[in-house]
């Protein structure tokens, strides 16, 4: 299988007035064709920063180290012209909160055909309009909706437009950054169906970012769990969700009560406290201050990502202990 996306030892830190803020610290992610990889974690764990580095969209104040390869090309060192050509045509992004990610004063049609016109020259206006209509149909919207402005659409319709836009230039890789966050549960399920259907039909690779582990468990092949800028657990989606190894993953999956499990329903387990300030990370394991299983050893050194059986890995020194 070809590697569509390969992030190796990627670190991102933002320059702020109070000094550098490490948002991502040494993360490895690989996405193959036809594969859906999920990235889970709380707000501020660095997952959206990770998404923006894929197309070098991070703000100017950010410094990135490691390598970011999209379709075999090094994104961090390529020239602006090559980068612009790669954006959207090689890999596209479904942004979160589609109301703000769409330009409020342009019609849907114009926002989609803008991407096509940037990347393909010599396509006639009629052909482009036909393609925009077909794209909308592909995501379950009537083609006539291309004449609408974003504010005339519902949240689910806007997210569909965003997905149609992401497909406009037939990319091999799609990054979905919190694609269902602002949607109600029914629409959320429809959008997830749509996304996983597209991966099957088109054979593209997809990286889905979400704070909702249960969402990822349904649609992903593999899941990575991030905490304070690092990957703390990885493995197949089912394994990570049903048999979490890291205490943080356990808390994350416990936060969503499962249907048919009355015990979890009446007592959804949460996690006290907030993620640490990336500028003042505790020594040792960065999860230690919130960890229910913490022991003195945890505060000595940051635990490495330990390989477990199969493709599983977890960054906890107490894995396997009772």
């Amino acid at each position: 299988m070809t590697e569509l996306l390969a992030l190796r030892d990627v670190s991102v830190s933002y320059g702020t007035l109070d000094g550098p803020l490490p948002a991502v610290r040494g993360v490895d992610v690989v996405v193959h064709a036809g594969e859906v990889v999920g990235v889970a974690g709380e707000s501020g764990c660095g997952k959206s920063t990770l998404a923006s580095t894929v197309l070098r969209l991070q703000p100017k104040s950010a410094t990135v180290s490691g390598t970011v390869e999209v379709l075999g090309a090094d994104v961090l060192t390529m020239g602006w012209g090559d980068l612009r050509a790669l954006r959207w045509a090689g890999a596209s992004i479904v942004f979160q909160g589609a109301l703000h990610s769409l330009n409020p004063v342009h019609r849907v049609e114009r926002q989609i055909d803008e991407a096509i016109r940037v990347h393909e020259s010599g396509v006639s206006d009629d052909a482009i309009e036909e393609r925009v209509g077909a794209l909308l149909e592909q995501v379950g919207l009537p083609p006539a909706r291309m004449r609408a402005y974003p504010h005339q659409l519902s949240g689910g319709q806007r997210q569909r437009v965003m997905i149609a836009m992401a497909l406009a230039c037939r990319p091999s890789l799609i990054i979905a950054d919190e694609p269902t966050t602002a949607l109600d549960v029914m629409v959320q399920a429809q959008i997830l169906d749509l996304l996983s259907g597209l991966v099957k039909d088109l054979g593209v690779g997809m990286m889905i970012i979400s704070h909702d582990l249960s969402v990822l468990a349904d649609v992903c092949d593999r899941v990575l769990v991030m905490y304070a800028g690092r990957i703390v657990e990885s493995g197949s989606a089912q394994q990570v969700f049903s048999d979490p190894q890291h205490p943080y993953t356990r808390a994350l999956s416990g936060a969503f009560p499962r249907i048919g499990d009355p015990a979890a329903r009446y007592a959804p387990t949460g996690l006290a406290g907030d993620p640490p300030d990336p500028r003042e990370l505790p020594t040792g394991c960065s999860f230690a201050p919130r960890c229910p299983r913490v022991v003195d050893r945890c505060r000595e050194a940051e635990p490495p990502l330990l390989q477990l059986e199969g493709e599983r890995a977890a960054a906890c020194i107490r894995v396997g202990e009772p």
């Binding site: 923006s52 612009r84 596209s92 942004f95 330009n103 609408a148």
Partner: protein, 342 residues
């Protein structure tokens, strides 16, 4: 694949009707404001303390008979409702009364001078708008850079100067001349006496006369446009849809031009249409300083007499100008921003 969402698209006819009803409501609103101004204009000058005949006469009338005659000439001896009906009827037919000073109809005076003021304030507003928007745009794109700091500082300094004072300084420097440098521009007026104003030479002569006043007003108006454009563009630059546009592979220039600047121009449109409405008030001081025979100078002279009907007429024209400009701003905004239509 999920089922096609059955959501009938709004037919184009309905959408057109939405815009028409938007236009209708705005026109109706403007008409209402105009009626209110018409009424206010009548009572405003009636509730002024003192007897209009005595104030206007300023001791010119020695006897009661003279006062009575004056009152009769101007209809002041009639009842208030009667006066009001006459006033509304006259205003609607374009009769704004007769100037006490010039002894000619006010409507004639105003239409004679409106063009001059529109030329002066209109060209300054357009210049200020174009230059100001450009300065604001460059400033926002290079926020905190040397240009941004210099432009913000200098436009604010110009903004805080009284415009008549700025005008006097410019007259001193460029019209009178300092030291060895001779004056380049006339100190005031609209035409040279020996040039026919309706010839090409006359046009050039008028432009030469208007250079300093237009420069003064442009400098005074500049800050408003540049600061509004700068801040609204800075707001837009943080918006998510610009990241989308960059992710689509657009060049930075296109992201700024097609998406950011276009949307940041919306507040500036409103501002410019509204300030076009302040034609008269903006012109009063500058026309006085440069002795340009426009509406502003007319109003200033009428105040000092006081030329009652001229004041009433200029007030009406000024208010109508503001209302009209607001209406234009609203309609333009409706075209530019699809969100306000619904």
């Amino acid at each position: 694949m999920t089922a096609v969402v059955t959501n009938a698209p709004a037919p184009p006819v309905a959408r057109r009707r939405t815009y028409l009803s938007y236009v209708g409501s705005k026109v109706l609103g403007a008409f209402g404001s105009l009626c209110f101004v018409l009424v206010l204009n009548f009572f405003l000058f009636r509730v002024l303390p003192g007897d209009p005949a005595r104030t206007l006469g300023r001791g010119r009338f020695r006897t009661e008979a003279q006062l009575e005659a004056f009152r009769h000439t101007y209809g002041l001896d009639q009842s208030l409702p009667h006066q009001f009906v006459t006033y509304v009827g006259n205003t609607l037919t374009g009769h704004l009364g007769v100037s006490l000073r010039y002894r000619v109809p006010v409507s004639e005076l105003i239409s004679e001078r409106l063009g001059t003021t529109l030329l002066l304030v209109g060209s300054s507003t357009i210049l200020a708008m174009v230059i100001g928007v450009y300065i604001g745009m460059i400033g926002a794109w290079n926020r905190g850079g040397p240009f941004d700091r210099f432009s913000t500082g200098s436009t604010l300094t110009l903004y805080s100067m009284p415009e008549w004072w700025l005008g006097l300084i410019l007259i001193a420097v460029f019209a009178v001349g300092i030291g060895p440098f001779p004056g380049l521009f006339p100190t005031g007026g609209l035409h040279s006496l020996d040039v026919d104003p309706n010839s090409l030479q006359g046009w050039i002569d008028t432009a030469w006369h208007l250079t300093l006043p237009v420069l003064t007003l442009t400098l005074a108006f500049l800050a408003e446009y540049s600061l509004v454009m700068r801040s609204s563009l800075l707001d837009e630059l943080g918006e998510d849809y610009l990241t989308t546009a960059r992710a689509k592979g657009l060049r930075d220039v296109d992201v700024r031009r097609r998406h950011a600047a276009r949307n940041a121009l919306l507040p500036t449109t409103t501002l410019s249409a509204i300030s076009l409405g302040y034609v008269v008030s903006g012109a009063i001081t500058i026309e006085t300083v440069f002795s340009i025979p426009g509406l502003g100078l007319l109003a200033q002279e009428a105040l000092s007499i006081p030329d009652y009907w001229v004041l009433q007429g200029t007030f009406l024209v000024a208010a109508a100008g503001v209302i009209l400009a607001n209406l234009i701003a609203n309609l333009l905004y409706g075209v530019l921003d699809p969100r306000v239509r619904s």
